[in-house]
């Protein structure tokens, strides 16, 4: 199943004009606030009626201005997970979960409520009302409610943005399971690079209502020109495999023959993972560094150097492990004599690799 979206719409500040396809798995709409992400999701949901365009899941059309076709939201078979959860306050958790299921056509009811409740760990909350739940619990119920509507399309609009870091870490694995176990396209809006790294099958980078880049997460996130959420969000995504857990508390990862160390992560040896390496945690050296405490060192050749208006520059390197991005000063670029084709070393401090930047790798679909 593939979701195809083509939209034109005038917003107060920007003109939305874009098109993209979202295959099975998670397609992340990535961009800073005001780039039109939520408008796109609401147009797909039918909560907003755009000026022109077409939205379809495979051959099933939800909206097409050429045919004057517009399905109201309740006929679109959606599972929409909102930022604020939007649980019904007058219903218990059990009734909230049953709500979407009740409206789904009987033969379309794929999901088994008991399995969903178990997967989300909300069995003990069933008789409570939303007002008595924590933020993380509310969001788990919201995921369950959307899933039990047996949707043909799952939409999530910054579902973690209202949660603190600990709650985010609690909810993210459920989205990973959703991605890996549910066989419908998931359109996921965020401005968090960490969420992209963990969840995205593909990324649609938006800027001022236009698609500036569309492709696999490792490609889009490695493109410094995308940097939708500011320079801090720039980072490369590497595909790695867990090699060994060492007694001193480190986990060794293997990527294209190179070795990376980071603080112990809970994943099994042999498991395939994705890891995001923030550009600002990478140091470049023109010679093989010596006497350095950093454990992670990758040799590569400079691919591109992009300097912005400020004193900084983003250097992208091709290494055996994949593309690496480094955020350095323009002065350093000059001092090291960096230019495309020149070989150099990327040094990454072990403790800079945080577990929340590690996620399960995607099976290609």
């Amino acid at each position: 199943m593939t979701l195809s979206v083509r939209l034109q719409h005038d917003l107060p500040d920007i003109k939305l004009d874009l098109s993209f396809d979202a295959p099975l798995g998670v397609t992340v709409l990535f961009g800073r606030s005001g780039s039109g992400k939520t408008t796109v999701v609401n147009a797909v949901a039918g909560l907003l009626r755009p000026k022109a365009g077409r939205v379809a899941v495979d051959e099933w059309e939800l909206f097409d201005t050429e045919q004057d076709l517009w399905l109201p939201p309740h006929r679109r078979r959606l599972g929409y997970i909102f930022q604020e959860g939007r649980l019904f306050p007058h219903l218990t958790v059990r009734q909230n979960l049953a709500y979407g299921r009740w409206f789904a056509p009987k033969r379309a009811r794929r999901e088994n409520p008991d399995k969903v409740i178990e997967m989300l760990g909300i069995g003990h909350l069933l008789d409570r009302r939303p007002a008595g739940l924590s933020g993380g619990e509310k969001q788990r119920v919201a995921i369950g409610r959307a899933l039990l509507a047996s949707p043909r399309l799952i939409l999530a609009d910054e579902p973690l943005a209202a949660l603190d870091e600990a709650r985010k870490a609690e909810i993210l694995p459920y989205f990973e399971r959703l991605r890996d176990e549910v066989s419908v396209p998931i359109l996921y809006v965020t401005h968090s690079a960490a969420e992209v790294a963990r969840l995205a099958t593909s990324v649609v980078a938006l800027q001022d209502g236009k698609v500036v880049r569309h492709g696999p997460a490792s490609e889009v996130m490695a493109d410094p020109s995308v940097a939708p959420a500011g320079v801090r969000a720039v980072g490369a995504v590497l595909n790695v495999r867990v090699q060994e857990h060492h007694a001193d508390g480190l986990t060794e990862l293997e990527a294209g023959g190179a070795r990376l160390f980071l603080p112990r992560i809970p994943h099994q040896v042999g498991e395939d993972l994705r890891i995001r390496i923030p550009a600002q945690e990478v140091i470049l050296s023109s010679k093989r560094p010596d006497g350095l405490s950093a454990l992670n060192m990758l040799e590569g050749t400079v691919d591109t150097i992009r300097a912005g208006g400020g004193p900084g520059a983003i250097v992208s390197l091709q290494t055996s492990a994949g593309p690496i991005l480094a955020r350095v000063t323009r002065r350093s670029v000059a001092a090291l004599g960096l230019e495309p084709g020149k070989s150099c070393f990327a040094v990454i401090k072990t403790v800079a690799l945080a577990p929340q930047d590690v996620g399960g790798r995607l099976t290609p679909s």
Binding site: P73, A104, R145
Partner: protein
């Protein structure tokens, strides 16, 4: 109720009947108009709002006279209803009509406030889960505004119990037919020695009005606690 005379009991029973039907029949219209005013933007919205509130501001005797002109036997609505064999002029049904119209603004105000307190985002969430508009209203909006609906109904009932000016103008003051509680108080005060009966009815009026106010406050508080607490 040995301490009440037959005429007083008659007036009390009639008032209860008139107010009950006035409230019940107005309720669907009240919910609809409140929803339209709270949620829809349409030309003439301010005009509708003004019309709904008119009975609250106009002298009741004016409302009663307008009712007489339209729903009287010679009035356009009166003749139309007459075609179906329905006569409201000088009947208890006319008293209910007058009471309903006078109570309508209070009912609409209470319900509209509670609709405005419902986050439209919750109704959107219902729609994305497959509920059509009527279902969203029945399963999300209505349960959430129910306390407002009940409070508004109680208030409207109390107002209907006390309606005097429009009723007496429209359907006069016929014992057993249109002599509601306030009309009876007025009538008793017109005859020598009627003060005792009038006082008893006044006490009953105060009890009903006070009870209705307290009950609607209580329901409002309980509902607020249900939604915000666990």
């Amino acid at each position: 109720m040995g301490w009440l005379g037959p005429a007083e009991i008659e007036a009390l029973r009639l008032s209860l009947r008139v107010s009950f039907w006035a409230t019940l029949v107005t309720l669907p219209f009240g919910i609809f108009v409140a929803y339209a005013l709270a949620r829809w933007r349409f030309p003439g919205r301010q005009l509708l709002n003004g019309l709904v509130h008119l009975p609250l501001i106009l002298p009741p005797v004016v409302t009663g006279y307008l009712l007489l002109l339209t729903f009287g036997i010679q009035g356009p609505m009166g003749r139309l209803l007459g075609e179906f064999g329905i006569v409201v002029a000088f009947r208890w049904t006319g008293a209910a009509l007058a009471a309903g119209i006078m109570a309508f603004p209070l009912m609409v105000r209470a319900i509209r406030l509670s609709i405005e307190a419902v986050d439209p985002k919750l109704e959107q969430a219902g729609a994305t889960l497959g509920a059509s508009r009527p279902f969203v209203f029945a399963t999300v909006t209505l349960p959430m505004i129910l306390p407002g609906v009940i409070a508004g109904s109680i208030l409207a009932f109390a107002k209907a119990m006390g309606e005097f000016g429009a009723t007496i103008t429209f359907v006069s003051n016929i014992p057993g037919q249109t002599q509601t509680l306030p009309s009876a108080v007025y009538a008793f005060l017109q005859v020598p020695g009627g003060e005792g009966a009038a006082t008893r009815l006044v006490v009953i009026s105060i009890i009903i009005a006070m009870g209705a106010l307290l009950l609607s406050e209580y329901i409002g508080r309980r509902a607020a606690a249900r939604v915000s607490g666990s």
